[in-house]
């Protein structure tokens, strides 16, 4: 179903004769192609929903993710985290306008790994341009909000110790070098799309890339002082819950908006998204209750994020029962992944981006092969005939996205380390806290 995302692009990109017979990709690509040619008229219902969904997805980052992350750090670093999220949102928007949209979602003139350059600075755009049955302006904005939240997710890996200049340089370069190509592979008509990969709303494009890059960056940046045994706990779990709840609401725009229409697919996406989030929250809570003796607020809302990240790639293909299975898997596997990254690998991926988003995104991307398959579990259908065939391409997609993320993150960090003479703040500044040291402001004062 992810193929329905950019109908008019597929009309130009996919040659049915290449893809092999009996492949559902062909049908999925042909129907929107004909529709686009015959009746390229605006549907106000779909447009209204895409406008709404766009606002919901921006709301996920500002202020949802910012508060979620802000509450998890020490009080002396809360503003720096809010600042990271806000500044990345602004920067990613401008990059999306300049080159991002063009490289991610417009035809790559024969290339299957990166989009074209004709839409740089949106020079091709007119107010009347349509993407299928809604304005291209809305499509650009909707996809822009994804390009905003993805680098913002990585913030969780480097909080409390990174230079602000390094945040800006890394996020900007990462967006162009990692996000844009992977977005093109999956949603822009690139090689993964041609092979019928299923990634409805960004298990590969958003969560796998962010998670793998977060782990790489955290390993290169080094641990916070005191990691792992002498750290201060989250300074405001209430803020964490507030932000997480905004993420949940915003995620309806993220997943149901990825149907690119106000239709049955959007409705099902919303239902399965919600069920997965609720299940993962409860399962995480129960695991934590059993392991530590107490069910915690930070735990239950982290389970929610894991459930949402995991259903994301599958939200266009699974039914309610599949969503429950995905949510339960996310609650258990992501919980143990947190301990694995921090205790076994010893990497201070501070706010568990890799364990929650990376593992969740990949898990959902793999599970959709079976749970999306039309069987007793109520799947809506997959792009290949057997779920095993689908699983192979799903795994290829994850591997390719992770490989590019790790390699590109390594190179970007090496380059910006030279530009910023080290991406980490001084020990003194880390002790003082980034709010004062980097931004000259204070999150909390006594009077």
């Amino acid at each position: 179903m992810s193929l329905g995302l950019a109908p008019f692009l597929f009309a130009q990109d996919i040659d049915p004769s290449v893809t092999g017979s009996g492949d559902a990709t062909i049908e999925a690509a042909e129907i929107p192609a004909e529709a686009a040619e015959e009746e390229a008229t605006l549907d106000s219902g779909n447009t209204a929903w895409m406008l709404t969904a766009t606002a919901l997805v921006l709301f996920m980052t500002l202020p949802g993710l910012a508060l979620f992350y802000g509450g998890l750090v020490q009080s002396k670093n809360v503003l720096s985290v809010l600042m990271h999220c806000f500044a990345i949102a602004c920067l990613a928007s401008i990059i999306w306008f300049a080159v991002g949209y063009s490289l991610s979602l417009t035809p790559g003139s024969g290339k299957d790994w990166i989009g074209g350059q004709d839409a740089f600075f949106l020079q091709h755009l007119t107010a009347d341009s349509l993407n299928g049955d809604h304005p291209e302006t809305v499509w650009i904005m909707f996809q822009m909000t994804f390009a905003i939240i993805t680098p913002a997710l990585i913030v969780g890996a480097f909080v409390e110790r990174i230079k602000f200049s390094a945040v800006l340089l890394f996020s900007g370069l990462w967006l162009v070098v990692v996000y844009c190509p992977v977005c093109y592979w999956v949603w822009g008509g690139g090689w993964l799309a041609e092979r019928g990969v299923i990634d409805f709303a960004g298990g590969i494009v958003v969560h796998a890339t962010a998670g793998a890059s977060a782990l790489t960056l955290a390993a290169m940046l080094g641990r916070r002082h005191g990691f792992p045994r002498n750290l201060k706990p989250p300074h405001n779990p209430g803020m964490v819950m507030t932000g997480a709840a905004m993420l949940w609401v915003g995620w309806f725009g993220f997943n149901a908006g990825s149907a690119a229409a106000a239709d049955t697919s959007a409705g099902m996406a919303m239902l399965v998204t919600h069920l997965s989030a609720a299940t993962a929250s409860l399962v995480w809570m129960l695991v934590e209750w059993r392991k530590t003796g107490k069910p915690g607020l930070v735990g239950i809302v982290t389970g929610m994020v894991a459930g949402l990240a995991t259903i994301t790639p599958a939200s266009g293909s699974v039914g309610p029962l599949g969503a429950i299975i995905i949510g339960a898997s996310a609650g258990i596997i992501c919980y143990y992944a947190c301990a694995f990254v921090k205790d076994k690998l010893g990497i201070d991926d501070s706010l568990d981006v890799a364990a929650v988003h990376g593992v969740g995104g990949i898990l959902g991307t793999l599970l959709v092969s079976y749970l999306g398959w039309k069987g007793e579990l109520g799947g809506l259908g997959i792009n290949h005939e057997t779920w095993q065939d689908q699983m192979v391409i799903q795994a290829q997609g994850c591997l390719a996205a992770v490989a590019l993320s790790v390699v590109a993150t390594y190179i970007i960090v090496k380059v910006i380390s030279m530009l910023t003479s080290g991406i980490r703040v001084s020990d003194d500044d880390e002790t003082k806290g980034l709010d004062q040291a980097s931004h000259g402001e204070n999150g909390y004062s006594l009077s």
Binding site: P233, E288, K294, T302, Y335, D352
Partner: protein, 112 residues
């Protein structure tokens, strides 16, 4: 005059305030504080990681009173703040050299 400084469990603040009001104490200063004694700290667990909390939240109540009622005030605070569990707190009694009401300039016990 004596300054009676009581470090108590935060949830006992209302009880202590009410008990002091009942014996005619008309003013006090309350300070939110952190610290530890024999009770030590505790641990908190977030996402499976354990954090050691050395300083526990406490409330400090300061009351300045004439010498003759100091014992009664102390007795009242002890009675109201006691849970008989570790961490109930401590009371320090400090001699006060002078007291001045800023508005009128009155000095001594009349300023209390």
């Amino acid at each position: 005059m004596k300054l009676i400084k009581s470090i108590i469990k935060p949830f006992k603040l209302e009880d202590v305030k009410d008990a002091l009001s009942e014996i005619g104490i008309e003013g006090m200063t309350v300070i939110e504080a952190k610290g530890f004694g024999r009770q030590k700290g505790h641990t908190e667990i977030y996402r499976g990681s354990e954090y050691t909390i050395d300083f526990l939240p406490k409330v400090v109540i300061e009351v300045a009173v004439p010498d003759d009622i100091a014992d009664k005030v102390i007795e009242t605070i002890v009675k109201a703040a006691k849970t008989e569990k570790i961490g109930d707190g401590k009371i320090f009694v400090i001699p006060v050299e002078q007291a001045i009401r800023i508005r009128t300039g009155e000095q001594g016990e009349v300023a209390l």
